[in-house]
């Protein structure tokens, strides 16, 4: 009987065939630790009685939620992290290079088939290159730092096939929001998603990243894409037979299979305050807005910024509306500076902030007030996520966000 992708990745890691429901201990290939959790991780690590990190080269420390610092105590997190990195001789520390999930893939820390854990729920992102990655709490992270291992339950898989030709105004953000709308916020809890089909094959790694990133919003443990030439090029590895083999077997067994027609997709928005409250952007059109945010580990990459620039070129952000653009990484910002994208965005009226989590994590970057509405390209629109509980957050693609910024109300790009 065949295997799904996640079954293959886990089997490869543990050296024996696994099936859904098995509880196995995996050897960890990389871990990602972010600034906001570091003091807690270090405390737990010491409390557990560990002295040395199992393999410093496998540990990546990234400061992104608290950069730049907005509260005086934020800098404590830098110092605790710096001291731990010095003490343990950690070679991979990023202090202001961008959002953790962007850096993990972009800087080559994650390869196809790897098993990776991070202290952030959007660690699921790395499934875009065919890795098994998922978010954990700081106590488990402390345990991994000491042992290099973690127990997992092998998840069932939901297979999603998307075939056909996408309308020109539909992005991968619209695809994942639509999927979350169908599955609902808990539809894939404890399960893996596996995406395939013509549309997925034709997508950039960046677009796949958007989908994998948001899979946690329907409860998924991970979301995997089979490695192909694009993946290999992006990761700087050779597409070996071993990596090709990670693709699911044709007779693999799934908890559910969704067959989606590319032609049926339209630009959508997730309405306040649930990620699964998804409807066509057309149905929300005309809703007055106060702010637009383009950025985050979901949609802050070069292709997202370029798409926004395409919409904004030669146009202006509507009066009294703020457009905040936060590139996902230093590299993205530099590329966007070099190819003129930043120039277009800035001239249209965007504020460009330093690469970080920014508004998505709700600590800075454009907090809103009672009665205000924001269209945002990030992953969550939970109550109070970007200010008071009377702020309304609509999630959308960079194209929808940019068009809305110009119109001053929710608007979408026509096909």
């Amino acid at each position: 009987m065949g295997m799904t992708m996640i079954e293959k990745v886990v089997s490869r890691n543990v050296g024996k065939a696994v099936k859904p429901g098995d509880i196995v201990t995996v050897s960890v290939d990389r871990v990602m630790l972010d600034d906001i959790m570091m003091p807690f991780i270090v405390d737990k690590f010491r409390e557990m009685g560990f002295r040395d990190v199992w393999d410093p080269d496998k540990v990546v420390l990234i400061y992104d939620h608290l950069v730049p610092a907005t509260q005086v105590d934020d800098t404590r997190h830098y110092h605790v992290s710096d001291d731990f990195a010095d003490e343990q001789g950690l070679p991979h520390v990023h202090r202001s290079d961008g959002i953790c999930h962007q850096l993990m893939t972009e800087a080559g820390y994650v390869k196809p088939g790897d098993v990776v854990f991070g202290t952030d729920s959007h660690t699921v992102t790395y499934g875009c290159v065919g890795a098994f990655s998922t978010g954990i709490g700081y106590t488990e992270m402390a345990g991994i730092l000491g042992t290099g291992e973690l127990w997992i339950r092998v998840p069932e898989t939901i297979r999603i096939n998307i075939n056909g030709t996408l309308p020109s105004n539909v992005t991968s953000k619209d695809i994942i929001l639509t999927i979350i709308g169908k599955l609902r916020a808990d539809g894939a809890t404890y399960m893996a998603l596996e995406l395939a089909g013509d549309v997925v094959d034709g997508m950039s790694v960046a677009s796949r990243m958007t989908i994998a990133n948001m899979s946690v919003e329907c409860g998924a443990k991970c979301c995997l894409f089979a490695p192909d030439e694009k993946t290999a090029e992006y990761c700087g590895v050779e597409l070996t037979d071993e990596l090709r083999e990670l693709r699911a077997d044709s007779d693999a067994s799934y908890a559910m299979t969704l067959e989606l027609r590319a032609e049926d997709f339209v630009p959508v928005v997730a309405c306040p305050s649930q990620v699964d409250a998804v409807k066509p952007a057309a149905e929300a059109a005309g809703t007055r807005i106060d702010q637009v945010f383009i950025g985050s580990c979901t949609n802050g990459r070069l292709e997202d910024l370029m798409l926004a620039a395409e919409v904004l070129k030669g146009r202006k952000v509507a009066p009294y509306v703020k457009l905040i653009v936060t590139p996902a990484s230093r590299k993205v910002y530099l590329e966007a500076l070099r190819n003129g994208t930043i120039d277009i965005l800035a001239k249209a009226g965007a504020m460009i902030t330093h690469p970080s989590c920014g508004l998505c994590c709700g600590r800075a970057g454009g907090i809103l007030s009672d009665g205000e509405r924001v269209v945002a390209t990030n992953n969550r629109n939970f109550l109070g996520r970007m200010g008071t509980s009377k702020v309304e957050i609509y999630l959308a693609s960079p194209a929808t966000a940019a068009e809305s910024a110009v119109q001053g109300e929710i608007a979408w790009r026509k096909a």
Partner: protein, 415 residues
Amino acid sequence: MGMTIAEKIIAAAAGKSCVRAGDIETVTLDYMMSNDGTTHLTIDMYNKLVSPHISDKDKLIWIVDHNVPSDSVKTAASHKKMRDFARENDITLWEGRGVCHQIMMEHYVCPGQLIFGADSHTCAYGALGAFGTGVGCTDYLYAMVTGQSWLLVPPTLRFNLHGQLRDGVCARDLILSIIKMISASGASYKAMEFGGDGLASLSIADRICICNLCVEAGAKTGLMEVDDKALAYLEERGRVPKQVFAPDADASYEQVYEIDLEDIVPVVAKPHFVDNVVPASECRDVKIDEAFLGSCSNGRIEDLRAGAKVIKGRKVAPKVRFLVVPASKEVYIQAAEEGLLEIFMEAGAIVMNPNCSVCWGSCQGVIGAGETLISTGTRNFKGRAGSPDSFVYLASAPTVTASAVMGRIATADQL
């Protein structure tokens, strides 16, 4: 008997042919600038007045710059109050487009004007021969409602500048040296007037930096003689002087200082006062955690060029945060076009959107307990940049940038 520049501007604003230091005059204002530091308080007071009205909405310029983008629920509420009031009353609102004084210089200030700003560094406008001075919200409210205010005509200290600054020495070094010479209260209630053959060698950016910091010697305003360079700056921006006032040859000064620009060396102002100035070479062992290039004092294109020249091909020291914050959108776009932002980003700097940043100490980039900042900002008061237990050194753009590279206080010639 002749008049100083300050006396002439006030006389014109009071509709008189002559005023003298010590007179109290009722003056008509040309502009009233207010920012998000206090505008919400002014609005609260305005709303308590019996049938309030605005005397001339076209003279009000409101600028959101201190906490941009908004970094807390409280700030978001203040911004919303300001935005809503501006919208209802058709008051010009600049939001997220730069530090207030830089926007005023770029778009409004003309020689001969009398301008109130609800911010102490309004004294910067003297760089273009306007009498700008900072006021509190109550004075601002009175001016907003009546278009007028009362003013004590200040005695003037005259500074005759001779020669030119040596290579590597900046306007910042000059004004800090002057503040040391006369002390932090040496110009209290007074005007500081600058002229002499050395003036021609100073750029408009230099002059803004000098006038901007006059308040740190207690001055009510700083004023520069208007020369061809100032007129060219205005012409480039399509503005004409209200009136160019030169001081009379027999004007009465409280004191006249002759300053040889060649005597000035790179200096820093040590914690916790602006007049605690020593040669930069005396601080070489001071380790830093953060460096800040920006603010209404030194966030202009000339400052960014100076910083970029120092850091090009080099890297920010490990664990040091180097914040680069262009003073306005215009500066940001120009810096992007000139490739300066690229240089800073490649060096590892944190390039922020135009705002007051850590100079204001409650915006992004704050420093924590025990930390040391070297800054081109305006003040080094205890707690100004974040924690009350932190340390701020003030210096020029090249010194700050060189320090960011070295991780300790350094001048550019040490690299």
